[in-house]
Amino acid sequence: MANKKWPETWQEFNLGGMVFSPGNASEYHTGSWRDQRPVLDTSKCIKCGLCYIFCPEGCISQDADGYFVSDLDYCKGCGICAHECWPGAITMVEEG
C-alpha cells in the first residue's frame, strides 16, 4: 500500500467522506501488481495508438518521438497491448 494516507483522527475525516482531489488515486502505483512488462520494438511500431486506446489503466502515452509507451508506475502487465499490437511491436517480458 504505497502512498496510503489515512486520516489520523476522526476530525480529519472529510465531511461526508468526500474526496476533493480528483484523480489522486494516481498516488497509488499499481506497477507493483505486474509480473511481466511490455517492451516496445520501435523498429516495428507504426505509432497507430492501438495499445494506447486499449489500455485499461490509461497509462500509455505518446513520447516526444511519437511512440506510445507504457508508464511502468501503473502498468499491471495485463498484456492487452502486446496481444492487440498487430505489427507485433510489443512483447511481454518477465519481470525480475
Binding site: 489515512w6 476522526w10 465531511l15
Partner: protein, 392 residues
C-alpha cells in the same frame, strides 16, 4: 402577517414545505402521508413554487432522487410512511453519512404484518439509528413550525444532516384544525437560501460516497455521531429564534404540570395533548401527576431527561412500538440507558400503547398514571405491558 387557517394537517405540511421553496420533491404514494406530496404536486402544478416534482416509482427511488438532488445543491424534500420508510431504509444511513440535508415528513404508521395502515411509531423506531435528526410533532401547528425549522436546522453549516419530522398518521395527517401560518416574507427572513458545502458540478470536481476501509470506518462513524450530537446546539438556537419571532416555544422535552409531581407520564406525537387532558383531570383529583412530551428523539436529549426526572418517584414511559423480544420498548430502553447510574433514579414503568391505530383515550392515561403510581411500592411483573391487549 400570520394567518389562521383551518386546514388538514397533511395539506398544512405541504404548505409549510412550499413556504421553504424546495427545489426538488420526490415522493411515492403510501397511506397516510400521501396528502402531503399530493398537495405539493398541486402547488407545483399551479406554479406557486418553482420546483421539480419527481413522481418516482418507489420510496427507495424517492430518497435516492432526493439524495442525488441534494448533492447538486438543491433543497430536497420527501415524505413517506411505514413500509415506505423501510424501503428507504437502505438509503437512510447513506444520506446522513454523505451529510446531505434532505428533509422528510413521516406520517407515522405501523409496520406490517398484519398489514395495517394506522398509526404507531414502529416505522421511525426501525430507523432510529440511521444518523437522522428526528423530531416529533403533537399537533398541526407543530408540524408546520417544525417543517420550516427543519430546513434551517438540516442545512446549517454546523449540522448538514438529514432530518425527519414525525406526524402521526391519521391522528394528525387527516385532521382539519386551526393552524397559524407565517407569511412568505417572514419565512424568507427566517430561512436563507441553501448554501451547500460542496456540490456535484464540473466546475469543482469531487467524489461523493467513497469506499470506507476498516482503517477509517471508526473515524467516519465517529464524525457522523458527533455531528448528530452537536446538532442539538443548533436545534436549540433555531427554536429560540422561532420563539422570538412567532412566540411558540419548543424544547427537546416539554414538561406539562410537572411541578411537585410524583408520577410523570412520557409521551410522543399525537398522544401528547390527550395525555395533557388526563393530567388536568388527575390534578383536579389531587393526584400529583405530570407529563413529559418528548419532541426531540434524535439526538436524544440525555441531559434534559435527567433534569426532568430528578425529583420524581415514578416515570411511566409510553412506547408506540414493540421491540419484540427486547428488554423494553424502544423509547423506554433509551430512557433507562440514559438514567442508569444516576443518583436516585425514579422507578420506570413501560406501557406499549396505541399500536396500529388502537385508540388512546384520556381514560387510558388516567388508568396508566394510577397504575404507575403503585410501581414505586411494587415493581410490575413484566418489563413492559402491552396496554389494553385482550387475553390474560
Amino acid at each position: 402577517m400570520t394567518k389562521r387557517v383551518g386546514m388538514e394537517i397533511a395539506f398544512a405540511a405541504a404548505e409549510a414545505v412550499a413556504l421553504c421553496k424546495p427545489d426538488v420533491v420526490a415522493a411515492y404514494p403510501i397511506t397516510p402521508n400521501t396528502h402531503i406530496p399530493e398537495h405539493l404536486s398541486d402547488i407545483v402544478a399551479d406554479g406557486r413554487i418553482d420546483a421539480e416534482f419527481i413522481c418516482v416509482e418507489s420510496e427507495h427511488s424517492a430518497l435516492s432522487a432526493c439524495c442525488g438532488a441534494s448533492a447538486t445543491g438543491a433543497r430536497a424534500f420527501t415524505a413517506t410512511s411505514s413500509q415506505g420508510l423501510l424501503f428507504m431504509g437502505e438509503v437512510m444511513p447513506i444520506v446522513s453519512a454523505m451529510r446531505l440535508p434532505v428533509v422528510m415528513a413521516i406520517g407515522n404508521r405501523a409496520l406490517s404484518g398484519p398489514i395495517n395502515i394506522w398509526n404507531d411509531h414502529s416505522d421511525i423506531m426501525s430507523q432510529r439509528d440511521m444518523g437522522w435528526i428526528s423530531i416529533f410533532a403533537s399537533n398541526g401547528q407543530e408540524v408546520v413550525d417544525m417543517v420550516i425549522q427543519a430546513f434551517k436546522i438540516a442545512e446549517h453549516r454546523e449540522v448538514l444532516l438529514p432530518l425527519n419530522v414525525n406526524l402521526d398518521g391519521f391522528q394528525l395527517t387527516h385532521v382539519v384544525e386551526p393552524i397559524l401560518f407565517p407569511d412568505q416574507e417572514e419565512v424568507d427572513r427566517f430561512l436563507p437560501e441553501y448554501e451547500p458545502y460542496a456540490t456535484l458540478h464540473p466546475d469543482k470536481v469531487l467524489s461523493m460516497g467513497t469506499l470506507g476501509m476498516p482503517e477509517i470506518f471508526n473515524e467516519a462513524m465517529k464524525a457522523k455521531d458527533v455531528a448528530l450530537i452537536n446538532s442539538k446546539r443548533v436545534i436549540m438556537e433555531v427554536w429560540e429564534e422561532w420563539e422570538k419571532l412567532f412566540g411558540r416555544k419548543y424544547e427537546p422535552i416539554q414538561g406539562y404540570k410537572t411541578e411537585g409531581a410524583d408520577v410523570l407520564l412520557l409521551t410522543m406525537g399525537s398522544m401528547d395533548e390527550t395525555a395533557e387532558v388526563a393530567i388536568d383531570e388527575l390534578r383536579e383529583r389531587k393526584v400529583s401527576a405530570g407529563l413529559l412530551r418528548l419532541k426531540l428523539w434524535r439526538p436524544f436529549p440525555i441531559e434534559e431527561l435527567r433534569n426532568a426526572v430528578k425529583s420524581i418517584k415514578v416515570l411511566a414511559v409510553m412506547d408506540r412500538a414493540v421491540s419484540c423480544g427486547g428488554a423494553a420498548g424502544p423509547v423506554c430502553a433509551e430512557i433507562k440507558a440514559a438514567l442508569y447510574g444516576e443518583p436516585n433514579p425514579p422507578a420506570i414503568v413501560n406501557y406499549v400503547i396505541g399500536l396500529g391505530g388502537r385508540d388512546v383515550t384520556v381514560d387510558d392515561f388516567i388508568t396508566i398514571a394510577e397504575k404507575a403510581a403503585q410501581a414505586e411500592k411494587e415493581k410490575p411483573k413484566e418489563a413492559y405491558e402491552i396496554y389494553g391487549v385482550r387475553g390474560s
